[in-house]
């Protein structure tokens, strides 16, 4: 039995590897949170990261983005070169989506230093599991903060306010507005982040991450707490991001969402990679089912009632 619906065509060429994490291990004292996990993400690919609570998914994200320094292992990334070439002028005819997220040439894979700022500069951006917006800033200001690492006005320029400063400020504002339109928040520009509805906050966080001009975007449970309609919108948004040439890694508990969305899925259990493969492979693997809902054989009490086929809610149905 499968939950996969008519999947959008996946015939787009999957490009070169963007991210290559090999042997990433994170140890907190005696706890082995992430153990020797490998992950390769190619250009224009959506990769899902699943696993029961406490499997180490978010820790793995933190290792990738430099918030944690992995105990061992290496993260290599084909990032934006330090001096990004000017984005080519977009012609009239092209659609807004392509315009909003310009694609840049890939560089060779290089090791990433475990510093969040360097990671963002190289072109990897993320969102957080529990929303971490700048609550007392407006939506536009939030996205403008995301532009920080791609702008360069220093203290002296800011005080002198030359034409270059004004041009850059204008461009930052325009780009932020463009991204808000892209995620569908074009009308909420001046709203304070803390006053926005939950779903909009999630999307604003994505817009803020997109503002850093990433090659790869890591989404940590982007649909947590959303209703089915909002989930569908989130899925459309992620496809839109992918179609504009970015790679996406998604952590999610909603299996229907993951298997409809992703090209490949990696399942983590207790810090270890259990299986990596296409959605079909992963959802038919007995070990994944076991990890999520138990076997029902060796631990009777733990096997929940809803392990019975056909009565399982979609979320736990393999």
């Amino acid at each position: 039995m499968t939950v996969t619906e008519s999947r959008p065509e996946a015939t787009r060429p999957i490009g070169e590897p963007v991210l290559e994490a090999s042997g990433v291990t994170m140890r907190f004292g005696g706890l082995l949170a992430v153990n020797d996990v490998n992950l390769t993400v190619r250009e224009g690919e959506i990769v899902g990261l699943i696993g029961p609570n406490g499997a180490g998914k978010t820790t793995f994200f933190n290792c990738l983005t430099g918030l944690y320094k992995p105990t061992s292992g290496q993260v290599r990334f084909a990032g934006v070169p330090r001096k990004a070439p000017k984005a080519p002028k977009v012609k009239k005819g092209e659609s807004l989506d392509l315009e909003a997220v310009p694609v840049q040439e890939l560089a060779a894979l290089t090791p990433l230093p475990p510093k969040p700022r360097a990671v963002v500069r190289a072109g990897m951006a993320r969102t957080f599991q529990n929303i971490r917006l700048f609550a007392n800033m407006t939506a536009l200001e939030n996205v403008m903060v995301g532009r920080y690492c791609r702008t360069s006005a220093g203290a002296l320029t800011s005080v002198l306010r030359g034409p270059k400063f004004r041009r850059e400020e204008e461009a930052t504002r325009a780009r932020a507005q463009e991204l808000l339109d892209f995620v569908g928040l074009g009308k909420s520009t001046e709203h304070l982040a803390r006053n926005m509805p939950y779903g909009d906050q999630r999307r604003l966080e994505i817009a803020r991450a997109l503002a850093t001009d990433p090659k790869l975007i890591l989404l940590d449970e982007p649909t947590a707490g959303m209703n089915p309609q909002e989930t569908r919108q989130a899925m459309d948004l992620i496809f839109k991001i992918r179609d504009s040439g970015l790679s996406v890694v998604v952590i999610e508990h909603d299996m229907r969402f993951i298997f409809n969305l992703c090209d490949r899925v990696l399942c983590l259990v207790q810090g270890q990679a259990l299986i990596e493969g296409t959605p079909d492979e992963v959802q038919s693997d007995p070990r994944v089912i076991e990890a999520y809902i138990g076997t029902g054989e060796d631990d009777d009490e733990d096997a929940p009632q809803d392990a019975v086929p056909d009565s399982t809610p979609g979320e736990e149905k393999p």
Partner: protein, 571 residues
């Protein structure tokens, strides 16, 4: 799931409007009449106290203030009912009358107490004083009997552009006049009474919503407002007739204010607590002193003053970097302790570099006295000048220089705040981890705040050395850092007007109320405790800071948002 959108309870309906008592309005008018009549009569038997309130039909200063209060009450009463009801649709006249009535009553009671204590007992109060008190009380009673009314939204209020600018001009002129008048009062009771009166009028203006209108006007004509404020500050020395006493206080306020604005970058914008900030002012002062022509200066190099300013500021900024680089990795209370220690280290070092322990740079505890007045080009800051028949003394010369300095400091503050860097600082204050994950250079921005703040304080310090004509280590004690921080907290972190207001209050009051100096710290402690309890965001609140202090207040958030939108539409 944390749903941030909680339903806001419907605003409770206003309690059923009290039926209007027909007596209320005539009562108010009677109160105004009594207040006026009383003010023209003698208040005190003793003509020596409070600038002579003893002559019938020749009102003294405090009586004229009462008359102003009476006129304002009359205007509000007429706005309530009568020829000015159109004004009443916008202004909350009832609240204004209540405030004015209560405030004027307090003012009159204080005057009677003052007469009683300055001469021998209340026997010296003449009938005029009591008549005015009754008048003030009647106004208060009438205010409480008048019903509250529905008002129109002030953000829609528009006047022709010219008249709006005129409003700003009139208000600024009133500020200048009030400042000159209050500073001209010599005895403490008159000064306190005058302050009480100004506070009452200001509160009444806020309660009626006049100030809301003014702030909307100010947002529409920002440049005019800034210019007007500087013109007022510029004109201030011309109101002093060459008196050095007040100009010296004004200079201290300006130096204190400029330093506080520098600290405001560190505390208000970047959100770092610095308890040793006075050391940066000291570094600038000492640099200017050792490079000056003083006989006690220890360095042979005597560059022109502009160079000295830059060197002093650079020394100060370097100290900022030296102290900041290792310590900014700690945050919060730890940073406060480290900076506190740094401030003390600076003071002790200056006290010890006397040739016995280390090189003779600062003459130790004696400091460097006899710093000559500034000489820029052919202009000597010690000379007196007269412009259009008005004497401008030595302090006035420094005043103008300091005015330029504070203008520069405000410019730097405002422009940094409203730029990529300012946004980075806000992001760091809001959520440091998220800011870092979005590529904001957290450490660099913190260091930058420290260095820029130190640079500006150093600039102020170089002028201070020449203005004071001497530097010594005891000028830079911890308590001065604490006062700088208090000025920011009191006035409103991250704001310009607030910090200047806080600096003025904290410098001016101790200077004018010398007899009070033993209780100074006690009073400031009390003041700060009360502020933290009732208005933690400061007298003039930055909207964002206000939100940060009231995390739970959804209504406030919506209100702020609406105001921003209103401003956005107006532009």
């Amino acid at each position: 799931m944390t749903d941030v959108k909680t339903p806001v309870p419907e605003a409770t309906d206003a309690p059923a409007a009290k039926p209007e008592r027909p007596i209320a309005w005539p009562l108010g008018i009677a109160g105004v009449v009594l207040l006026v009549v009383g003010s023209f009569l003698s208040w005190s038997y003793d003509g020596q106290i409070l600038n002579d309130l003893s002559i019938n039909f020749y009102p003294g200063g405090l009586q004229i203030l009462t008359l102003i209060g009476a006129v304002l009450s009359l205007v509000l009463l007429l706005a309530e009912k009568g020829p000015m009801t159109r004004l009443g649709a916008w202004l909350d006249a009832t609240l204004g009358i209540r405030t004015l009535g209560a405030g004027l009553s307090l003012y009159m009671v204080l005057i009677l107490v003052a007469i009683g204590t300055e001469s021998d007992g209340l026997i010296n109060v003449n009938p005029g004083g009591y008549i005015s008190l009754v008048g003030a009380l009647l106004i208060a009673v009438s205010g409480w009997l008048l019903p509250l009314r529905q008002l129109r939204d002030m953000s829609e209020a528009r006047l022709p552009g010219g008249i709006e600018i005129l409003t700003i001009a009139v208000l600024m002129a009133a500020v200048l006049f009030a400042a000159a008048y209050a500073l001209g009062l010599q005895d403490a009771w008159s000064f306190i009474l005058c302050l009480v009166f100004i506070a009452v009028i200001a509160t009444a203006l806020f309660r009626t919503g006049t100030m809301t209108f003014v702030s909307h006007v100010g947002q529409r004509h920002k440049k005019v407002l800034t210019l007007a404020a500087f013109v007022v500050a510029f004109l201030f020395p011309f109101t002093q007739n060459g008196s050095d006493a007040n100009m010296s206080i004004a200079n201290q306020v300006l130096i204190f204010g400029a330093t506080a604005m520098g600290l405001n970058i560190v505390v208000g914008l970047a959100g770092l607590l610095d308890l040793g900030y006075i050391a940066f002012l000291g570094a600038g002062s000492y640099t200017a002193a050792v490079l000056s022509n003083s006989a006690f200066a220890t360095v042979g190099w005597k560059p022109p003053f502009l160079v000295v300013m830059l060197v002093g500021a650079a020394v100060s900024a370097t100290l900022g970097l030296i102290i900041g680089t290792p310590t900014l990795r700690v945050s919060g209370d730890y940073l406060a302790i480290v900076t506190l220690g740094f401030g003390e280290i600076f003071r002790f070092s200056m006290g010890n570099l006397d040739g016995n322990n280390g090189p003779n740079l600062t003459n130790g505890p004696n400091g460097i006295p006899g710093i000559p007045d500034l000489q820029i080009g052919g202009f000597n800051f010690g000379d007196e000048h007269s412009l259009a028949g008005i004497e401008l003394g030595r302090f006035s010369n420094y005043y103008f220089l300091l005015l330029i300095l504070i203008g520069f400091v405000i410019l730097v503050f405002a422009r940094l705040n409203n730029s990529r860097i300012g946004r980075g600082w806000v992001a760091i204050r809001e959520d440091e981890k998220a800011a870092e994950a979005m590529g904001v250079n957290v450490f660099g921005l913190k260091i930058l705040a420290f260095a820029v703040g130190a640079f500006l304080a150093g600039l102020a310090g170089t002028i201070k050395a020449h203005q004071d004509a001497a530097v010594s280590p005891d000028q830079y004690q911890f308590i001065e850092s604490a006062f700088l921080l208090a000025a920011i907290v009191l006035g409103g972190m991250g704001t310009i007007a607030g910090v200047l207001l806080g600096a003025t209050i904290l410098k001016l009051l101790p200077e004018k109320l010398r007899f009070f100096s033993e209780y100074r710290l006690l009073m400031f402690g009390l003041l700060l405790v009360l502020m933290m309890r009732f208005r933690p965001e400061g007298l003039v609140a930055s909207r964002r800071r206000q939100l940060e202090f009231h995390e739970e207040d959804e209504e406030l958030a919506v209100e702020v948002e609406e105001q921003r939108l209103a401003v956005g539409e107006a532009q």
